[in-house]
Point group: C2
Chain length 185, copies 2
């Protein structure tokens, strides 16, 4: 039986990442699930940041941010970054993660993250509760073991995803893009 | 050891959905992973559509689309919708899925999808290879068994996610948002 529900945010599953921002003097780390890829050439991604967030001013000022992918070993740190404010605490210290100096941006990345995607803001769109920053990817800092031929390649069961207030494990590969075409469908 | 890779799209894991669009006379179903939530009140999501896609014109004309969530039973259908074009075939027939009449939009949704998120376009941003449509969620059509208190609630291991050309299963809940605060961290 189908029910028609009133509008609410229910797209799932979403990426669960830590976004780092700021500069050497003032920086922060926030947990976001409202991120997405939007363009292939050049590669551009989007992040949606609530206006009340401390990081919003940092990103607006520096026009840079880094998206740090999260594996299961970083789940605890990611949740800490999601429920504390950089106005009150040093979130890197609170979460037990390490600032690494950005390679192609001025903001730090999370040294423990397997993949840090460095971005420069190319456009901003303001909605009632959240600002969307579009970031052109200018470099990707990755652990060598998670790369192949200059691209990021991650093992099955490695990343964390987010759905309806829950962090979920990701599991096995159950298909590859285009597999039905090879079946002759 | 860290490597600095050249820019490429590597955000993961992403949602894997079928977006339906068009009207009663002409409609289509496309597979997208470049979708995301961007605003909470009102609820707004974004979809990025390559300019060459047949669906782009339909969405631009009708200013409506529906995001259909995908469980494992719909994996095969989703892949079919990703590798065929609505210019050439009736993708609903090719994928073995059923058009259902939209509740609050004029475009159809996928009857077999557990959750269909109906949207009206409120803004569009054009990037070099993809157009981003922002859709305000105007209604959510869900199987009753996947709702609780008027909201969508999905079981563990139910949805499909996308990373680096692979469809991945989602697994168990490994934490809930804010769980570290309850530990007294």
């Amino acid at each position: 039986m189908k029910l028609v529900l009133e509008p609410h945010t229910c797209l799932a599953p979403l990426p669960a990442v830590i976004v780092t921002c700021g500069d050497e003097k003032e920086n922060n780390a926030i947990t976001l699930a409202w991120v997405g890829t939007v363009n292939s050439a050049p590669p551009i991604l989007s992040i949606a940041v609530r206006y009340s967030r401390h990081s919003l001013g940092l990103i607006a000022r520096t026009k840079e941010f880094t998206v740090n992918l999260i594996d299961r070993s970083l789940l605890h740190a990611m949740d800490v970054c999601g429920v504390t404010s950089g106005r009150d605490v040093d979130k890197f210290a609170a979460a037990g993660i390490t600032r690494a100096k950005g390679e192609r941006v001025g903001c730090p990345y999370v040294a423990e993250s397997p993949v840090a995607i460095e971005c420069k803001v190319v456009e901003r769109v303001d909605f009632p509760t959240h600002a969307v920053f579009f970031g052109e990817i200018v470099g990707v800092v990755a652990d060598a073991e998670y790369t192949h031929g200059g691209k990021v390649v991650l093992p099955d069961g490695f990343l964390v995803t987010y759905a309806n207030g829950k962090y979920l494990a990701t599991g096995d590969t159950i298909g590859t893009y285009g597999y039905t075409a090879k079946e002759g469908k």
